[in-house]
């Protein structure tokens, strides 16, 4: 598939009609993300990724300055393999400080999966006792919609809503603000991110929220204004007129955030998506002959590549992917 942008827009509109009811946003605002799906695009992005400087620039949230790979949507869905990406970096740049830092970040992905394998759906509940008092408030609309008035938060949330991507450091800031400043139940934030992230992985997402909250780490993650300024080049703070809740040193922030017991909010949950009847219809034909073999390869959201091991074993077989309402939070 090699569509021009206008063809891609038209195809997205058609699919939005066909899949209405299966996704969360209104059909009128359903758009394709600026991340073209598929291995061709993934390999092109992998080829363009330069790991040099990664260790020192990965935390900078400015797109032109940040050394992050933005390969996560492709890795999450198996369009690129973890090992494949690591080997590509080794082949091009060798074994040095930046490569090692990048490989360790890939290692986190496998680590989270191993936790998921060991604990199953328990990852959606606190894995450990929280090290600080946590809140149970529902996620307010101004956060969900990026209308907090804090330029750093709203810019990150706008990225999430408009592109399906948020820089990892910005995710940490937003999650910390949600959990520790706003005292929102981390599970609300977890589900909110998962609904919007192109790279939303059940394990990485849920356990990262727990890492921020301190239910799967030794201490809560918090940040201050100085940290935001350092890694955004003052992009946000210079244009922000809000009273900054992060403008303090860490001892003072800790005292502010964790000294008082947290008042319980309404224990509201993110509204569950209404279950509608399933449609049983093929959306797209593979164009392959049914005489391709006697084995059918079932592809799922972790394995969308011709390098999928099952497909490698049966390269001539017919293959099918199912799209379902809740797909890939609990892999289907």
């Amino acid at each position: 598939m090699n569509l021009g942008e206008s063809d891609r827009i038209r195809q997205a509109e058609e699919l939005a009609w066909q899949l209405e009811g299966l996704y969360l946003e209104p059909r009128q605002s359903a758009r394709a993300a600026p991340y073209l799906g598929g291995r061709r695009e993934a390999l092109s992005r992998l080829e363009a990724f330069d790991v040099r400087g990664y260790a020192s620039t990965r935390n900078d949230v400015r797109e032109e300055r940040s050394g992050v790979s933005r390969l996560s949507p492709y890795i999450r869905h198996g369009v690129l393999g973890l090992r494949e990406v690591a080997e590509a970096v080794r082949e091009r740049y060798g074994d040095h400080h930046d490569s090692r830092k990048f490989w360790a970040e890939l290692g986190w992905r496998q680590f989270w999966k191993l936790v998921h394998r060991a604990w199953g759906d328990a990852i959606y509940e606190p894995m450990e006792e929280a090290k600080v008092a946590l809140g149970e408030r529902p996620l307010p609309a101004e956060l969900r919609e990026g209308r907090t008035g804090l330029v750093c938060m709203d810019a990150a949330i706008r990225d999430l809503l408009e592109t399906g991507y948020m820089h990892n450091h910005a995710r940490m800031w937003v999650a910390s603000y949600v959990v520790h400043t706003c005292k929102v139940d981390w599970r609300e934030g977890e589900r909110w991110f998962y609904q919007h992230l192109l790279d939303g992985d059940p394990a990485s997402n849920a356990l990262s929220w727990q890492w921020i909250a301190s239910t799967f780490s030794h201490k809560p993650y918090i940040f201050n204004r100085e940290n935001v300024r350092k890694y955004s080049g003052d992009t946000f703070c210079a244009s922000c007129s809000a009273s900054c809740p992060f403008d303090a040193d860490y001892p003072e922030l800790e005292a502010r955030l964790f000294a008082r017991p947290v008042p319980l909010g309404q224990a509201g949950r993110v509204a569950g998506l209404e279950q509608k009847g399933w449609q049983d219809l093929p959306l797209a034909q593979s164009g392959r002959s049914k005489a391709g073999g006697k084995t059918l390869v079932w592809l799922h959201g972790d394995s969308l590549s011709i390098l999928d091991p099952a497909l490698q074993a049966y390269p001539e077989a017919d293959r099918v992917l199912f799209l379902t309402r809740n797909c890939y939070r609990n892999a289907s």
Partner: protein
């Protein structure tokens, strides 16, 4: 899930190419197998609990061949992870972990 993500999945699967269907996995796969006369289903494993539930349901009626994912590092099947640092120190040496 957002439409952006569904469309990303759609584009990724269409390029493979694969047939893309809507619906319940076990019923739909079962129907496809019967209608098209497939002898078996091949699939790559996922750690998600729901995947295992679907897999077990499929196995009651069909021959299913399961393939392992290709990991970044090899870890024993019974390994129970607790914190990243000891995990990476032990298993990430191939990738420069110290």
């Amino acid at each position: 899930m957002s439409f952006k993500r569904l469309f990303f999945l759609y584009e990724s699967a269409a390029e493979i190419p694969a047939e893309i269907r809507l619906g319940k996995v076990v019923e739909q796969l079962g129907r496809l197998v019967e209608e098209q006369g497939y002898e078996s289903i091949a699939v790559t494993e996922s750690v998600a609990p729901r995947f295992r539930v679907l897999l077990e349901a499929l196995k009651t009626k069909h021959r299913v061949e399961l393939f392992p994912e290709i990991p970044l590092v090899s870890v024993p099947d019974d390994y129970v992870p607790k914190r990243f640092s000891p995990f990476w120190k032990k298993y990430g040496r191939e990738w420069g972990a110290e």
